[in-house]
Each structure stands twice: as structure tokens, then as C-alpha cells.
Assembly symmetry: C2
Homo-oligomer: 698 residues x 2
């Protein structure tokens, strides 16, 4: 047997499923596809691979789509056993698919097996060493560890299903209210004593389930056989049905992701916060990081940025980050900002460096680099005479729901742009130094089909689905002059972006650093010299500010009560992260108890999109002018996982891919610890007992 | 009632169905999607229209896809009756569809109808006056006269079905051979006395139906209930089934197109040639012009170019030309030549002018102009220091299956490029003069969404599905300065392309016109001075050669037996057309009888891809090294329709859209005529009886 996997055009799996995800929003009986440009997956592909067989082999191609196999120019149908003699062969597979994801799975066996104990394996199988083209450039294929079996269809998500029993079933206003005691993203299954049609009202809260008008989801005229679509709920309410007339359970559906961290300390509130955060995070992590399970169910770049920060402290799952990034970014050409938001495009770019710090995967940086370059071209195309980025007519300059003075170009966007230049310079250097050594790629970092076939070049490290390198017999180095040319080009890129960063830093300080206020102001064009926390938080977080400036920001902004408080958990994440970076853990510790502890006191089983302790009763579920507009299971609510892991357990990488990392628990907060945090493929175990700290790795 | 039609993103209907068409090829049990880059239709759209209602109206939006309606920012589900008071309203419809064509149908009625005889109609309905965007530029929607009913799905083709009875059913080699006496593109329906599984072998010829190995289509293990896919055949053979055991009929499926010409003369062979041509053409004309019904079933630009020439002499159907052109060209960006063939891209561009001569539709020229410009940019990007176009690495320089000396840039491609420059100059002038007067468009000839909403601008003439102008109350002129700027830009374009054409003409004469040979040579780089007919035919056909040069070409090429004969019907079309343009009708007349008459003598019920009178028996069905590789129903076989109509009946437009036209029958060939030829919306009737010619229009 050989480690075959499903293969497709790289990035298209994510574009395809990302679109499905972004089309799945539902609100009071209407569908709500996301309001931005959606890139398309390719429909017509040619897969190819050269093999040199030592012995005859028999292989079969399974395909999602219409098409055929060609071996050395001879055509065969899909699904047919094809026998090849020893020697060199070019296998090509042509696949078209308009409604699903065009993809193939190739498997083989030796033509003559002498006995069943024969351990020799055949070599023909679909994996990352194949190439693909859409009849334009050839590139290495895309794969996923989730799609390794022939009987799968990469166009469909395979969910793991978990049966959930009701926690309580009570009569309410003549109907039945069922509380599953936890958030479910799936469907209820009902058995009724009477054959009748009925209504199901869903609720994240009891109030929502009891409100037939303002609830988000409602199924009317249901029967026992009705196939209910996947929805998020904790409660369901069945009007006019008595508890004795119904039996119910729910089936929760999830994409399997493995929790690799655990947390236990002497503070039960903190333990509960960690656990509820982990559950919240799990619910908002499927094929992609989404914002919330009831609403919007969309892939938002700013939210995903934060989910990617949390990821190493819970799953350390390398694939979900990449799936999410690819889905957000789409194809190389970019004309509209990600989710239409300028700052979200920049956070997307910055996240590529974060991902690299997490797993050290240079091949991924190489894959993304042309898409990052296209982003920079777009951003630079909208800078003014000072090099400051401005929004175009239909761009959304978001930053946060806050009273930011958005006159002219605003400072928070410039700090992000500066950080993007730094990231680009870093990635270009990385690729020039190490990224090109193992592979061949054309000047556009795409391999050319003819070069690829002639030289057997590929531009991803040849890893099997198990992550181990496959035999490298089909990898040949690019010829030295071309490789050197590419390196030189990347070094030029690094210089270019470095200079851009320096010039921009000076412009930011010239235009936005207000000496009198000792802080960055929002806008220099309005004359208002308004200070908000946002740009200053980014300045600390991305190390834009020097040590003296950080001190001023701390005093004049962070601990200045005249500067309006951050109100959204989205930006609260950045603020607490900045405080953490500055070592101000007390402020974080206090917020953990008041904000997240406050939600627990309200009986939260997952963390909310927003929590305002002044709101009570039904009022606490409203948002955006909608009585149940607030999502009660929102990914950014899970940030305690990150804050606790990074600042209070003190685990962080000190080189890419956690080749080196540090563990510096903030011992003043703990009397007892029994925690595990993943560090690459290994896990660090932190134990504190009776004043003795034990740190071990396994 | 109001004339609602289905609306979609312009061009996407054609991209979607064109891809379906190009994925439909089948060969001996395998699928064969076309081997070129396929552009994608958009999946996520916003439709919009402003209305000012005199009275309250109730409207409903039907959608293919998921989504919702927004009226003045308020959301409603699809399929819901929405009542609006009198006054101004902005209606927006958001639709996402991953597997079909995102499209909507909007209909309304007055909210209060006083009595049933009330003739007032409501105004809200989907038609060409709506706008659409993919969250980038807004453009006027696309429509089709084929999709006017609410219950339709624009993602599905509605075929007209025609039942065909067998012409003969005979026993052959222990099985049953059924001859339907005509080509069918559809499915056989069988009733068997025994319930059993059986095999169906299809054939365009009897030989093919009797060859279970080399036949193109075969259905094995069929049962009476098996749903058979649409295939082309005249014969079916059922092995091991006796004629007494089976009853059969076939259902032919066609897209309704109306034959508007008729032909009757005193020469029965010519009458038969015309009729069989018309049948052949009908079979190869569906949503699009395809090459053949058995093979390839693809939309080829060179073949379509010729089908478009034939169209005014049989259907005068304006929509099939445009559908085909849009499908061939895809989206505006172009990186690969159409069907990968450089000359096919150029023929595509030239066909836009032909289409304009046929129907005078300036809006269509305006729609295509940005796509034509992108083509020119691509072509110019591959010209050398002399301005001559060369193929890139993966480009196909086709011209014809012939021994053309293809060293360096070749002359036939240059003549096409010259013609393209002339067409561009003409179209730019046209648009500058008349094309912009009625409409508003941005500098890129796309309307901008904001401008559109604010000013109610649209860039197509406001026609209802019946072709009549709709009330123009939502059309406002662009402000004068912008309009003038656009006109100036188009005049610049015209000058630019005119100068390009002149320079290229000089280069072609300098490099390819061989004074000694009195003809264009294929290549100037090889030193062989090889002359083929191809470039010289184009030089005559596109009026590149002046009168003296044409005379030389006639003598030195056309009637020079040392210059190899054209062997393909594809290029034979161009050659006969060139002869016709030069008035050499005898040569055409002779070819009609020998070539097309020759096929009739072989019992052809449709005209073939190729006919070689030297081939007999089974051999005559082979092509491309395949025993049944030849298509026996091929669109370019229908060219007699064009040749007879244009040169022998002498009907041709003398101004765009047949506003003026001429009828000059070549009377020396006729003793009797009773023919009708469409001329725009009217028809010209040509009658010749007893030496009296009568020409009338109705």
C-alpha cells in the first residue's frame, strides 16, 4: 500500500469550501451570502506526474468530475485498471467539474506480487509530488490530511457526529422547552407520539427560543421526517407540544480537531474560563475559523487573525490556519480588500508571519508570497503623496466599532502597513536564504509546466500525508543561474520593503506622533488631534514604538482614563495582548475575572460576542439593533486560551516552528498548576505543586 | 402583466452553458473536457434597480440560488410578496449560487386593482434595465429571449423534443440494426419483449453501428429503464436482439431556432444540397454553434466564425451569434488564446464586425469593446521588432491542416492581425460617433455602481424582451464632460489602431510580398519562399490586397496548380468565399456539384467534416487516425447556404443591420427560382419564372 491522498489545484479546496461556508448564513428564513467578491475555484484541470517504474504496476484513477487518463498520450477511462511496464511514463489526468471540486485519487499495486508477504510497494499514487495546471501555469497540487481515503469526495465535508441528550425538558406556555445544556451546531431529532406537523424554534438563549418572532432560526410545518439544516442552538422550543408527547436528542457535527492542551490550576474560575474558552473555540473552528456559529458563520479576516493566535495554545493545528488563509485570500489577483476591509487585508498578510513562527513551514511562505506581493501592490496603489494608505470609494476602513477620527488617512492603518512592509522584508529574506534551495520555481514563484515535466521540478517539499518526506527521486534542483537570479530578486524585494518600512515609519512619526500628547493621534488632517487606543495598541503590539514611546503610550493612553475604553472583545484582544507584551499582567488578570468571569456568572456555556455587565435579562442578548443579534458563541471570546498560555504560563516560540521556545510561568499568579501546552509536535508539561515547578517535554 | 425576463450577470449565462457544452464530449466511454482554460461564471451577485412608483405595487422575486431581497435597506426572503407604497424605492437582490447560474425573475402587480378590465400595468419587473454587480463594477444585466417564464431555470437548457420513427429495422449478424434515416441528437427509446439487459451501439454510419470496438458511443448493460445520455446517431445496433423483439423510436432534442430562408431552383442537386446543408447547420446550432454533433461538440472559434457567416442566410438569429461569441471569449482578462489558437482569437474579434453588419447592434459592440481591446493587448504583447505577431510557447499557430512553412512569424497570422486593427479602428469610430450618445459608461466602458444608482445610468439600450424600447424614464445621459472625454478616448483609439494597421500593412508587404512570385509567401525567415493559398486567400477576403495584387494572386495562386490545393472544408470555405468576392462563381458552382453533390451520391443525410471522393467503404469514415474519427454532421459542411445566398442569389447588406441591402442574383446559373432570404426583420422573396425575375420584400 502507498500513501495516496486526494489532490486538487492548490488553494481551490479552500476557495470552494470557503464559498460554501460564506453562503451558509441564515437569518429569519432568508439566505444571506456574504457581501463581497468571491473568487472562483478552477473547473477544468490537468494533473500530471512522471514515473520511472522498476517493475510493472497496475494503477487506477478515481476522479471527482468528468474526464480521462492519458499515459504517454494514450487515453483511458477513469476508474479503469491500467497496467504499465517498467520504465518511464508520463501520466496525465484531465478532469472537469462544474458543481464540485475537480480532484483525483490515484492508487496502484505491483503487477506481479509473488506472495502476500511481499513488502515491496508500488510507486504510482496521488500525493504532493504531482503537478496540476488549469491549462496555464503548472503548480504543485494541494492536499489535506482530511482527505486520504478513496471513497471520500473532497467537495463534501466529513463531519464527526456527537449525540447530545437534553439536560432539561420542561413545559412552558403550553409548549415544550428543551435545554441541551451546551451549544450544538447540528440538528435536533424528535420523536412525537402524534403524527403531526409542528414548529421548532431555536435559541442560543432561553429568551430566543421562546420568541417566535425575533428568533434567528425557526422551522415551521416540520414533520418527524423533515431534514433539518445545520443550525446553532442550545435550546429548542416546540409550541403546542407537551413534554410527554416528545422525545428528543440533538446531533452535533464537527470537523475533527484535536485538543492538545490542558489546563488546571488552583483557581476554579480560571479553570472554568479556560474550559469554556476551549469549547467556544472548538465550536468556531471547522474547516475554517468562523466568527460565530449562529451569526455570521462567515470567515472574517480580523476574527481569523485572532483565532490563529489562539491555535498554538490549544490545537497547534497547522492546516486550519492555512485553510482559513487560503479561503480568505482566494486567487492571486486582488481587486477588493478581504471582506472589503483594508485593515483585514493587512492582518491577513501579517498572519502569514505568525503562521511561520508557529510551524516554520517555508513552503507555505513560498506559496503565499505571490499573493502577499499582490496585496502590497494593491495597498501601495492607494497610498497618497506621503506614502500613507487611504480607503478607496468602496473600501471599508474598519479598525473597530469606536469613535475613531477617520478624517483623511488614519494612523492605525499606517501602523499596519508599516508592519506589512516588515513582514514582506522578512519573508523575502527567508525565501532568498532558505526557501529556494530545495526547489525550483519560475520568476513568479510558479513552476512552468514544461520546465516541470522536463526537469521533474516541484516547489513543495515532498511530504507524504503523514508529514514525512517521500523519496526525493523526482526532485531535481533548478539550474544554478535561474536559482541565483531568483534569490537576487528576493533580496531586492527585501531591500525594497525594508526601505518602504523605514520611510513609512518616519512619515507616521512626522504626521501622527503628537509630542504634547505623547501618543499617536488618529488623523492629522482634521486638526482634532484625537487620541484613541487603537493605533497606539498596534504600535506596541507590532513593535513600531521604541521603548521610550511605549512608556509614553502606557502612561498617556493605556492608563489614561480620558482616552475612551475599548468596548469590543475584538479589540480587547489586541489591547490585552499589548498589555501582556508590556508585562502588565495584573490588568489582564483582572479582566479575566471581571469580563469572562462575569459571563460565567450569567450561566454562559460559551463566550459571547460582547459582554456588558450593565445589561440584564433579555437586553443582554441584543446587538446591532436586533433583539437576538448577539452571537453567544463567538471565536474571539476564546482569547483567554491565548492570554493564559502565552503570558501566565509563559510559553512562546523563540525561533520559527518552536525549534526553540521558552516557558516562563508568571508564578506570582499560581499556587498550583497542571497544564500542557503544545510546542510543535511535542508538548510541554507545566506542573506546580507545593512551591515546586516542574517543566517537562514529551 | 409586464414583460419580465430572467436576468443574470452579462456574459455569465454563456460562460456557464459554454462550459457545460465543452465538458460534454464523450469518446468510447471516456469523458473529454476541452483542453483549454475555462473562465468562470460569477457565483455571488447583487442585482439592483431604482423605481419611482405612481401607485402601490406588490412584487415577488424568484431566484436561482440562496439569498434575499432588500428594499431601501430592509431585508425580505425570496418568493415573498412584498408591497411597496407609491414613491421612490431602491430594490436590491442578493443571490449566491455555486452549482447553477445565479439569476432572478421579478414580477409585480398593482396593489389595488379596481376592476379586472383595468389596463394599467405595474412597473416592477426584471429586464434589461436592471444593474448587477459582483461586488466590484456594476454593469447592465444579461438576458435572453429563451428565458422569459418564471418557472424556468436559466441554468438548464429547455430542448424542444421531436419524435423520430425508424426508417428501417433489419436483422443483421444476429442483432437488430435500426436506421432512423436522419441524424438524431438525443436518445433512442426501446421497448423489448423480454426483460433483459442489452447493449446499444450507436453509429453515424452503418459501419460504425456495427463495430462494437471502434464505435464512438456504446451503452452496455442497458435496461429499458436506463436513462441514456444525449448522443448523436443515425443508426443503432442491438446485438443478440431480433427485430421482432424490439420496438424503437428516438427523441431528437433541439434548441428552437427558426429557419427563415427557403430555397427552390430548377436544379434538384442544388436544392438537395441546400436542404441537407440547412439540416446539417440546424443540428450544429444549439445554444451555441458547435463543430459537430458526434465530435467534438466543442465551441471552436474558427468553426463558429463560419457558422456566423451562414447564419444571416438561414436563421438571421442575432442571439446565437452573441451567445457563441460570449462563450468563446469568457471574461475580459485574457491570458490564453481562444481554443489556444492565435488565429482563432483573431477570427473571434473580426466576427464582431460581421455581427454588427448583420444586425447593426451598437450596444453589442459596446459590450464587446473592452474584451476586444484586451485581445489586442495580448496580440501586441507577442509582436516582434517588426510588429509581426508570433506564437508563444504554448500557443497554437493553426491556420489550417496544411503544409504551411511555419518558420518564424507567418504571413497568414499577420493578415489577420492587420484585419483586427482595421476592425478595432472601425469599432472605436462607431462608438465615438454613435455608440455613446444614448448611454453612460465609465472610462472602461463599464458603468460604476455608484454612478449608476445615483444617476440611473445604464449602458444598454432599454429594450424589452420583444425588442421594443421600454419607457426611458430611468435613463439619464452621462454628464457632458465625461461623455466628451470618452468620445475623445475612442477617437484616439481609432487613430491608434489605424496607424497600427498602416504600419503592419507596410511590414507585411516588405517581408512577405514576393514580387517574383506575385504572391504572399508563408515565411521570410526560412528562406524557402514557400507559397500556400492561405495567406493569399485572407489577403483577398479581408481586402488587404489591392486590385493589382488580387489579380496577381488569382493568377499565381488560385489558378496555379503548383500551389497545393486546400484539403479541408474549413479553409475551402474561405477559398470559395474569396473566389466569390472576386466574382469567380463558376469555380464555386463546380465545387458545389463535385464536393457536396459527391457526398449526396454517397447517401449523406448531413454534410461531413471532410469528403475525399477517392475514399470508399469503411475508409471514408476515418479521420485523425481513428476508423470512425470523422464527424458526419459538421457545421462547416453547411457553407452552401452562405455561398448560394450571398453569391448566387446575390443578397448582402450594404449598410449595418441590412438598413440597406442589395439583391443581385447571378442569373446565368438559374432558370427557375423561388427563394426567401431574411434581410433583418424582413424577408426578401426572389422569384424567377419563364425569364421574369421578381424581387419582393415582406
Amino acid at each position: 500500500m502507498n500513501n495516496a491522498v486526494w489532490i486538487w489545484y492548490p488553494g481551490d479546496f479552500e476557495i470552494y469550501h470557503g464559498m460554501k461556508q460564506n453562503f451558509r448564513r441564515e437569518e429569519r428564513g432568508l439566505g444571506w451570502p456574504a457581501f463581497w467578491k468571491m473568487d472562483d475555484w478552477r473547473k477544468n484541470l490537468r494533473f500530471f506526474r512522471k514515473y520511472e517504474l522498476a517493475k510493472p504496476e497496475v494503477f487506477t484513477v478515481h476522479g471527482c468530475g468528468v474526464g480521462h487518463v492519458q499515459v504517454n498520450g494514450q487515453k483511458y477511462p477513469l476508474e479503469k485498471k491500467i497496467t504499465l511496464p517498467a520504465g518511464k511514463h508520463l501520466i496525465e489526468v484531465f478532469i472537469g467539474n462544474m458543481t464540485g471540486l475537480p480532484s483525483i485519487y490515484v492508487e496502484s499495486r505491483l503487477a506481479q506480487v509473488k506472495n502476500l508477504n511481499d513488502t515491496e510497494t508500488a510507486s504510482i499514487h496521488s500525493d504532493a509530488t504531482w503537478g496540476v495546471d488549469d491549462f496555464l501555469e503548472a503548480v504543485p497540487v494541494g492536499t489535506s490530511s482530511l482527505y486520504t481515503r478513496r471513497e471520500q469526495d473532497p467537495g463534501e465535508v466529513e463531519y464527526e457526529e456527537i449525540r447530545v441528550q437534553p439536560q432539561s425538558v420542561v413545559e412552558k406556555d403550553g409548549g415544550t422547552l428543551i435545554d441541551f445544556g451546551q451549544m450544538v451546531d447540528g440538528s435536533p431529532f424528535l420523536t412525537l407520539t402524534d403524527q403531526c406537523t409542528f414548529t421548532i424554534i431555536y435559541g442560543e438563549s432561553e429568551d430566543e427560543a421562546l420568541d417566535p418572532v425575533y428568533c434567528y432560526y425557526k422551522e415551521e410545518n416540520a414533520t418527524v421526517g423533515t431534514e433539518l439544516r445545520k443550525r446553532a442552538f442550545r435550546y429548542i422550543y416546540l409550541p403546542e407540544i407537551k413534554p410527554t408527547e416528545v422525545q428528543a436528542y440533538a446531533v452535533h457535527q464537527r470537523v475533527p480537531l484535536k485538543r492538545r492542551a490542558s489546563f488546571s490550576c488552583g483557581d476554579d474560575v480560571i479553570n472554568k474560563i479556560w474550559e469554556v474558552s476551549a469549547r467556544t473555540y472548538a465550536l468556531c473552528s471547522g474547516l475554517f475559523f468562523i466568527d460565530g456559529i449562529k451569526r455570521d458563520r462567515w470567515i472574517w479576516s480580523g476574527d481569523a487573525y485572532q483565532s490563529m493566535m489562539i491555535n498554538p495554545y490549544l490545537y497547534f493545528d497547522k492546516e486550519i490556519d492555512k485553510r482559513t488563509s487560503r479561503a480568505l485570500r482566494g486567487n492571486t489577483e486582488i481587486r477588493q480588500h478581504i471582506n472589503t476591509i483594508v485593515d483585514y487585508t493587512m492582518l491577513w498578510l501579517i498572519s502569514i508571519q505568525n503562521e511561520y513562527m508557529m510551524d516554520g513551514d517555508i513552503a507555505y511562505v513560498r506559496e503565499m508570497y505571490p499573493k502577499m506581493e499582490a496585496v502590497m501592490d494593491l495597498l501601495f496603489s492607494q497610498t497618497d503623496e506621503h506614502g500613507l494608505v487611504r480607503g478607496r470609494e468602496r473600501d471599508w476602513i474598519y479598525i473597530d466599532w469606536a469613535d475613531i477620527d477617520k478624517d483623511g488617512p488614519i494612523s492605525a492603518e499606517q501602523v499596519l502597513l508599516w508592519k506589512c512592509c516588515k513582514v514582506m522584508a522578512h519573508c523575502a529574506e527567508l525565501l532568498a536564504e532558505e526557501g529556494m534551495s530545495e526547489v525550483g520555481a519560475s520568476g513568479e514563484l510558479h513552476i512552468n509546466q514544461d520546465i516541470a515535466i522536463l526537469h521533474g521540478i516541484q516547489s513543495t517539499p515532498v511530504l507524504g500525508p503523514d508529514g514525512r518526506p517521500l523519496p526525493a527521486d523526482h526532485v531535481a534542483p533548478l539550474d544554478a543561474p535561474l536559482l541565483e537570479e531568483m534569490r537576487a530578486r528576493l533580496r531586492d524585494d527585501a531591500t525594497y520593503y525594508g526601505e518602504k518600512a523605514d520611510a513609512l515609519r518616519q512619515a507616521i512619526l512626522d504626521y501622527y506622533w503628537d509630542e504634547e500628547k505623547g501618543a499617536l493621534i488618529d488623523s492629522f488632517t482634521s486638526g482634532k488631534r484625537n487620541v484613541t487606543r487603537h493605533a497606539n495598541i498596534f504600535a506596541v503590539l507590532f513593535d513600531f514604538a521604541n521603548a521610550a514611546q511605549k512608556e509614553q503610550i502606557r502612561k498617556n493612553v493605556f492608563y489614561n482614563e480620558k482616552v475612551p475604553q475599548i468596548t469590543t472583545p475584538y479589540f480587547k484582544f489586541f489591547e490585552l495582548d499589548a498589555l501582556g507584551e508590556m508585562g502588565d499582567l495584573d490588568a489582564i488578570w483582572e479582566t479575566l475575572h471581571s469580563y469572562w468571569g462575569g459571563m460565567l456568572e450569567r450561566g454562559a456555556v460559551t463566550f459571547w460576542e460582547l459582554f456588558d455587565p450593565r445589561q440584564e435579562g433579555r437586553e443582554q442578548y441584543g446587538m446591532y439593533g436586533d433583539p437576538f443579534g448577539k452571537s453567544l458563541c463567538h471565536a474571539w471570546g476564546a482569547s483567554p486560551i491565548y492570554l493564559l498560555g502565552k503570558y501566565f504560563l509563559g510559553v512562546r516560540p523563540t525561533s520559527p516552528g518552536y525549534k526553540t521556545y521558552e516557558v516562563k510561568p508568571a508564578l506570582q499568579y499560581w499556587d498550583k498548576l497542571d497544564c500542557k501546552v503544545p510546542v510543535g509536535d511535542k508538548t510541554v508539561h507545566i506542573e506546580l505543586n507545593d512551591g515546586t515547578l516542574k517543566i517537562s517535554e514529551d
